[in-house]
Assembly symmetry: C2
DNA sequence: CCAAAAGTGTTCTTTGTACACCCATGC
DNA sequence: GCATGGGTGTACAAAGAACACTTTTGG
């Protein structure tokens, strides 16, 4: 039995949440879009494989990544029985763009405008989106998608994209600040408004300490379809 | 590469939360305690394998079960590289006892008084305990551990065991009832108190409909170590 | 009648939500 | 000086937590 690792890679460009896909190099379905994946090597752990695969594609290391689940339907790969362990990763898209272009010719796709994917990769993506919503409602995970310096309105756009809904900006900023995870900077971002919005940075120490304690971030979480 | 499925099976006897373990039949570590597991067969899915293994051990079908995650450290099984997909199951221990005794000679162990386990099974159990706390804080999953008819004080003992803490019984019963997932029965359980506590049954329809919407069940969830 | 668990009522605190209104700035 | 987002203040509503007190019944 073959064991593969597939990576669902999320990015955020300031407006939209996107997924990084590659065109499959092997038959069958050569040329069709696919998640980035690879086979587990004899001496590596699953985490190591996932990080290796992510680095191959993006050049990035130290990225936020977590195991999602295993997919093992007997017929999921029509050629040979292959178990896939899916990981999802959150990357700062601007970090990635410094790196750009490689042998895989990956492309970013808006999560709502995805092409057809091979095998059961669509199912994996759907589960990853659900998982991301779930996790982000409870933990401050979405900061991983932003550059190290960001404004609260930028953060709000990200949350609104994830939950496909609008939040009250006044209550949103208060709620974010009440977590005390953010450190206010002196400079403002003037690109998006005349008044300008202050930049913030994550308090990394508090972020790590409070990672598990970020419940109730999303208003009316019981109305979300998780 | 070998692919195994291991099951972490939780039960509740009315006072304590327990895990069902077996003595390993194969070398190495023959005779040592272990989670119930087995190898994934060529034609079956992971879910099918997990259900097959659970049925082999307990005789039960239709049990609550979910995939936890994959464990793939290269050296986790010293003999041969084996990937394990861990599932956790919640069973009504009394249902199980009707079935009793089989070739595996399983035994229930209190979650806090576990013997040494083979390989990385202790790690799997620790993660399963954490996962169960996490999930139960958000979803009405613990009903799966109770018989179809139960009292609110019984439910409270279960929650207190899971979270290793005490809840205010007055607020607890109100909170449970406010979910409207329970249907009051005419009879009382007189075994545990003089006044007696009313039995309740789960409203299966509402349970399924609201399974995702049970957030904020545990007071102060941010103080829990998840 | 007393002990002991079940359960109701009430109060206070905290958190969430809605929205009026002021602020800073580029044009 | 006015349009545009950024942000504070405030008021009301909902949920959570603490706890006094009543109920039921076996001994």
């Amino acid at each position: 039995m073959l064991v593969a690792v597939d990576c669902i890679i999320f990015g955020f460009d300031g407006n939209d949440i996107k997924l990084l896909l590659v065109q499959r190099g092997l038959k069958p379905e050569k040329g069709k879009w696919s998640l980035m994946g690879g086979f587990l090597q004899p001496a590596e752990s699953l985490e190591q494989a996932a990080n290796r695969i992510l680095k191959q594609l993006t050049g990035l290391e130290g990225v936020y990544m977590e195991q999602m689940r295993a997919f093992g339907e007997p017929e999921r790969d029509p050629v040979e029985r292959t178990l896939s362990i899916a990981y999802f990763a959150l990357i700062d898209i601007h970090q990635y763009e410094k790196q750009l272009s490689n042998e895989y010719h990956p492309e970013w796709f808006h999560v709502k405008k995805m092409p057809d994917l091979i095998f059961d990769h669509k199912k994996m993506v759907d589960i990853a989106k659900r998982q991301l919503r779930y996790k982000a409602a409870l933990h401050p995970i979405l900061f991983e998608l932003l550059p190290s310096r960001f404004t609260i309105p930028q953060l709000q756009i990200l949350y609104e994209g994830i939950y496909d809904t609008a939040f009250d900006n006044r209550n949103f900023s208060r709620k974010v600040l009440s977590t005390e995870l953010l450190i206010k900077q002196k400079e403002k971002d003037k690109a998006n408004s005349k008044k300008g919005a202050f930049y913030y940075k994550l308090d990394k120490r508090k972020y790590k300490a409070n990672f598990q304690a970020f419940l109730n971030f999303i208003p009316n979480p019981d109305k979300l379809l998780l």
